[in-house]
Amino acid sequence: MAAKARTSRRTGAAAGVLLTPFFVLFTAVTVVPIGYAVWLSLFTEKQSGLGFDGAESVFSGLDNYTAALGDRAFRDGFWILLGYCAVYIPLMVGGALALALLLDSGLARARRFFQLALFLPHAVPGIIAALIWVYLYTPGLSPVVRAMDSGGIGFSFFSPDGALPSVVNIALWEWLGYNMVIFYAALQAIDRSVLEAATVDGAGAWRTAFSIKVPLVRASLGMVALFTVIGSLQLFTEPLILNQGSGSAVTSTWTPNMYAYTAAFARNDYGLAAAAAVLLALTAALLSFAVTRLTTRKGARA
């Protein structure tokens, strides 16, 4: 009895020692900054006269939230994200899955080479990737645009219609290989005897792929979908580079994240920026909750 109590006390102490660093860091780098952002979002800088006597920070309740929600530019950002997700997620998940299935099938030659080649873009930092693509999109400089023009396909990547495809293309280039590797690993983990059984039962390659392999990697599909949705909400670097370096139709408030950035750093309205960031975080939390619920329920039924 006493020994048991001692062990549990010791376990408790060990748990305490092991968990403390986590909670200290968690508090310092997550809880406190979020709290500070919420705090900031409740204040507005007010000025008097013509505005040249300096600013005074005044408690303004939820004013910054109504200001953000009332700003068309902020709301438009969510529509753009929605459009982005609608184009990007099917292409990404479908493309990565198709490539992984191809590599996993008996058809593929030079498997390791393709795996590496497809993964390589992911090793390039987002900023660099965006800069490379801005170059490739710029008429007058880009060999790609020149080739397209001489081939009769005139497409302006910087036009209002071209903005979304331009960003989706950069994101696909960066993330396709990464997600392909996740799917490929999941496919490799499938018990080979299941696949043999399918072959014995007369299933062809297509049938095996769609009726056996895909259902068996559903967990990875859910995970990739979740990460992609959250990642999409955070969309920032690539469109920012397009905005600042190219004179494209990507505005400085194109995504909600960029709206917050511009509010803070171009308009110097930290309260508004904090409110926009909090709203975005809430949206992300709600969405991840919804996606997790959906995927786990599906998984449980399967």
Binding site: T44, E45, K46, Q47, S48, G49, L50, G51, F52, D53, G54, A55, A67, Y135, T138, P139, G140, L141, S156, F158, S159, P160, D161, N243, Q244, G245, S246, G247, S248, A249, V250, T251, S252, T253, T262, F265, A266, R267, N268, D269, L272
Partner: protein, 441 residues
């Protein structure tokens, strides 16, 4: 191999971190005498700027002064992130003592409370040296907020050889400018005599200024915002026409695309300002002797100009070395040595706001690139024609960001120039209201 590399990296990062820590801790050499140093006990100033030649000026100052030491840090140009850097540093309480701020942005910084009134350190004698327009733009609410450095009258840069070869006359009015653009396009289907820079709202604003618009007017304690006046509308429609008829090139300001078009000769002109002379000269060394500068075209043929950019030196709120900072800023702006040190290296063609220094600037700038043209006399005349009625409002950040966002959509056709101005107007009024200021417009 890889392990030792990692270890080196780790060591380097630790050392950097320590250096940063000690750097933060060691910055409290607060001087009791309001920051005017002596040879025995010099004051150390930090100075952030991006203007060409700043490093050379700082070196010259440090070499000739014992009471003040200036630590210079080059930052990205204001709209490319420099302003954000300054205002964040000031907010965080670790800003530099002296910063570069362009005239349009000065009221925004003042209204944020990021700068301090330098009136007590700026004598009337110094103030009288400057172009009155520059003094007006740095005096807000009756206080002095910055030492003007240059004036930036608009000018038109053009390829003399192209204009002569194709017998195109250098345009004096905006009507002639359009004709010249058409002729150039006819002579060479690829040639454009100017560039529409969708990322740059200031060129458009300078044209509205030149045409007599007055976007911001302070009356009592109310801001009157007016962007739908006849002058602005005229300028907006004029640019719309040039863009719709593909008479101008579209490229981001100073981008590789813009440079490439200048290099291959498809862009044969540039609507800029006095400081652009140094930019072209250092960007296109191969085209030396081929460029000329003309006064910017006007609407009625009589000289008129807006101001496109132009820099001032301002002391930040937290600085306790205002006296020394103003002394250094005044040296940069109003002494021959200061101006010569900046211009002689060849990258800056600054046009001093201090009228008496123009001969010195002219002597220091090698105008060989412009075939020896007397460009400073041209700047002088253009500078005198700067329309004195314009003033900037306290929301330049919002106004210009919105205008820039909308201008980016103009060449695609989904937004008109007039619509872009309208959007900037609405955003400006909303921002002024949000700050609790009285506004009409």
């Amino acid at each position: 191999m890889s392990r030792s590399w990692t270890r080196t990296t780790a060591a380097v990062s630790v050392v950097t971190a320590l250096a940063l820590l000690t750097g933060c801790g060691g910055d409290d050499d607060s001087s009791s005498d309001a920051g005017r140093g002596t040879a025995d006990k010099p004051v150390t100033l930090t100075f952030w700027a991006w203007q060409k030649g700043s490093k050379d000026v700082v070196d010259a100052f440090n070499a000739s002064h014992k009471n003040i030491r200036v630590d210079f840090e080059e930052i990205p140009s204001g709209n490319a992130g420099g302003y954000a850097k300054i205002s964040n540093a000031v907010k965080a309480g670790n800003g530099p003592d002296l910063v570069a701020v362009e005239y349009p942005m000065l009221p925004e910084f003042v209204s944020q409370g990021a700068l301090q009134d330098i009136g007590p350190h700026l004598t009337d004698e110094v103030r009288k040296k400057f172009l009155p327009q520059a003094v007006d733009l740095t005096t807000l609410g009756g206080k002095s907020w910055a030492v003007p450095f240059d004036a930036a009258p608009q000018t038109y840069f053009y390829r003399k050889d192209f204009f002569e070869k194709n017998r195109i006359e250098v345009p004096r009015t905006w009507a002639e400018f359009r004709t010249a653009a058409e002729k150039a396009k006819k002579a060479d289907p690829k040639a454009r005599i100017a560039t529409f820079m969708p990322d740059d709202p200031t060129t458009f604003e300078a044209m509205a200024w030149q045409a007599g618009a007055q976007w911001f007017k302070a009356e009592g304690d109310t801001w009157k915002v007016n962007t739908s006046d006849a002058a602005t509308t005229k300028v907006a429609d004029y640019w719309q026409g040039l863009i719709d008829d593909r008479l101008v090139q579209t490229a981001v300001s100073f981008s590789p695309e813009w440079t490439a078009a200048l290099k291959d000769g498809s862009t044969v002109g540039y609507l800029g300002a006095s400081w652009g002379a140094g930019v072209l000269k250092s960007t296109l060394p191969d085209q030396s002797g081929k460029w000329g500068i003309a006064p910017v075209p006007t609407w009625d043929g009589r000289p008129a100009s807006g101001m496109l950019g132009g820099s001032t030196w301002a002391v930040t709120k937290g600085s306790r070395k205002a006296a020394a900072a103003v002394e250094f800023a005044t040296w940069m702006s109003t002494t021959e040595e200061g101006v010569r040190a900046r211009i002689a290296p060849g990258t800056s063609s600054a046009f001093p706001a201090d009228v008496a220094l123009r001969p010195a600037a002219k002597k220091a700038f090698d105008a060989g690139f412009y075939g020896g043209q007397d460009i400073y006399r041209l700047f002088d005349e253009a500078g005198a024609s700067i329309n004195p009625r314009w003033s900037w409002g306290p929301t330049t950040g919002t106004t210009n960001t919105t205008l820039k966002d909308q201008l980016g959509k103009v060449s695609g056709g989904s937004v008109t120039v007039r619509g872009a101005v309208r959007a900037a107007h609405d955003a400006t009024v909303a921002e002024l209201k949000k700050r609790g200021l009285k506004v009409e417009g």
